[in-house]
Amino acid sequence: MTAKERILSRIRTAAVPREDYFRTETPVQPASIDLFCERVADYRAIVHRVSQDEVSATLNRICEGRRCLVAADFEFVIEGAIADAGFTHAELVDFETTITSCAVGIAESGTIVLDAGQGQGRRAITLIPDHHVCIIRADQVVSSLEEGLERVMVTRPLTFISGPSATSDIELVRVEGVHGPRKLEVLVVKA
């Protein structure tokens, strides 16, 4: 018998009784942008609330003097920013900042989710540079985790981000910044 057959036959022998199971419909609730911003900031990420007109100027200000990377299909124009041209990991080390959009924001937990969609690029570009700037439109913010999961393309690589990288491994003291970007800025664009 193969390992697979052995395992499956043991599962069958266990004969765990099945009971009815119902998944409750998630009520769609209006998301609170204030709550989202508050909870993102709680993780010591920097939150900017801007209007559509202010996006480019704000991004230019954040990126000024920094070597800046954007996804190849990023929708905003930033002076001096370089579009991802399939750089090697070693080449990505030379970038200080990456700017991306995201798929959804979840107010309940203060989370942004990247699903490799428009303007988000591949995972490595938001991982190696030490500073991640993420843009989210107010209408991309949902209230609950359930609603957030519905809005992403699950079969693409997903990254749920709730604040900058952190560890509490030493005496349970929280330290921001270990391997992932040590600085996270989120631009929330008003509707």
Partner: protein, 461 residues
């Protein structure tokens, strides 16, 4: 002491006797667990109906386990459809062999690891080393344990037993870097620089999994530091070892899990990073993905109608933090990579209740119930502890004492006679086991002149 595994080398009683002597350990643990328990209460109180959320978690996991075969087969199909390869491992040895074979086939002698208790369970690092493959731990606490040649003592914070000064000295000796301060942020910085090079050059990564979704073939890793993202994104090859009980049926089920896990684990609303991937994605991340589905005793647990609730466990470690026994003896006393209350029920069951030392673990509890109260998936740990105690072999002397006590208590005339007059003192001492183990640290209670029933009888007249 490195590696791990689940087979305790001694009984809990004697292991605990040793670890209790270490006052620094007790102080480190006491401080750390108190801190995290207080934080946990704050984020749990924030949820409108935490009890309902716990019940939802329990129901979800029970549902997933009741349909385990279908879930695993669907998961296999979906992972393979997305370009991954699925392997099945009935034992630890089989799992290790699969990992080694993959590494060998690519002539790889060094792999980076995401923290994975499952890999510690199967003693992956030591086994790979014997085959000439170096496994490098990248989680800060696992790195500390690896450098110290020490085994993890906590599911979430494997180096919880070490304080900052101990870690500073360890880094100075093992990494050869002079560190002027033992501030945690400085120590984290040292780890960052040390591991960066490894991440950028690693060809192969090994991870565990916090969950898998059968309907989509997606795997999820929950972490804080970003070492997980590094390992899951940068190498060419990724091997994930997952216990079969981690599979969930639907993508939407992940919401329930993620509402419970970070709060119970790191006491946060959400952990900094959760990565989810499905097979391989051209141009993004590893281009070769292997999923190893591990049994290693889990089907023993599934087979027991009472014990099977143990498989709901999502490895949050809330039960460790609240446990008064764990707080004092530390993780090493449990002799398994699964310490604390969950370890006390999981370890012996994984070993089919056939390991004498592991069978002492269900007795490593005062039955205070704090673990059950904290468990996000409502595993009734005290119930399972009591149940498993009944499955252990008893020492003849103890057995005889309990049979005598039963003989007395099973008959009210015998019981009344035992409590009469001068006999009461000796009867009571033997009946309630108030012997040497008791009087070392406690005085005997004063024996009353008459029992309650004698008082009642006289009064009734």
């Amino acid at each position: 002491m490195s590696g791990g595994g689940i087979r305790p080398a001694t009984s809990f009683t004697s292991a605990a006797r040793e670890t209790l002597k270490n006052r620094t350990l007790r102080a480190n643990l006491g401080f750390a667990t108190r801190t995290i328990c207080a934080k946990r209460e704050r984020v749990v109180d924030e949820i409108e109906d935490w009890q309902a959320t716990r019940s939802a978690g329990a129901a979800l996991k029970d549902h997933a386990l009741a349909n385990l075969e279908e879930n695993l087969l669907l998961l296999e199909k979906q992972v393979e459809a997305a370009g991954g390869t699925v392997h099945w491992a009935a034992t630890a040895q089989e799992a290790v062999e699969i990992v080694a074979k993959i590494a060998r086939s690519h002539r790889i002698s060094e792999v980076v690891k995401v923290k994975s208790i499952t890999s510690d369970e199967i003693e992956l690092n030591d086994s790979l080393k014997k085959q000439g493959i170096e496994a490098i731990e990248t989680d800060l606490a696992e790195l500390i344990c690896q450098l110290a040649d020490d085994s993890p003592s906590h599911i979430l914070v494997p180096a919880i037993h070490k304080n900052r000064e101990e870690i500073r000295q360890l880094f100075a000796t093992k990494l050869g870097v002079e560190i002027e301060s033992s501030e945690p942020h400085r120590l984290a910085e040292v780890a960052r620089l040390h591991l960066r090079e490894k991440f950028l050059t690693a060809k192969m990564a090994v991870s565990g999994a916090n969950f898998a979704v059968a309907s989509t073939g997606s795997i999820g890793i929950v972490e804080s530091e970003g070492n997980g993202r590094m390992c899951l994104t940068l190498p060419d090859i990724l091997v994930t070892i997952m216990g079969i009980e981690k599979v969930l049926p639907e993508w939407s089920d992940v919401a329930t899990l993620m509402r419970l896990l970070p709060r119970s684990s790191t006491a946060e609303r959400m952990n900094p990073y959760t990565s989810v991937w499905t097979g391989v994605t051209p141009g993004d991340g590893p281009q070769e993905f292997h999923l190893i589905l591990l049994d290693n005793g889990r089907t023993n647990v599934l087979d027991d109608p009472v014990g099977r609730q143990t498989l709901r466990c999502i490895r949050c470690s809330a039960c460790l933090n609240v446990c008064p026994v764990y707080q004092r003896v530390g993780g090493h006393a449990y002799g398994s990579v699964y310490p604390g209350p969950i370890g006390a029920i999981l370890t012996p069951q994984l070993l089919a209740m056939a390991d004498e030392n592991a069978n002492t673990l269900p007795f490593a509890s005062s039955m205070c119930g704090a673990c059950y109260e904290a468990c996000p998936v409502k595993i009734n740990i005290p119930e399972v502890l009591a149940y498993l105690r009944g499955k252990t072999h008893k020492q003849p002397v103890e057995l005889a004492a309990f049979q005598v006590a039963y003989w007395v208590m099973s008959d009210s005339r015998r019981f009344s006679a035992a409590l009469r007059g001068k006999r009461i003192g000796a009867s009571v001492a033997s009946m309630f086991g108030l012997v040497k183990g008791w009087t070392d640290s406690r005085e005997m209670p004063e024996v009353p002149a008459e029992s309650f029933r004698d008082w009642w009888r006289k009064r009734d007249r």
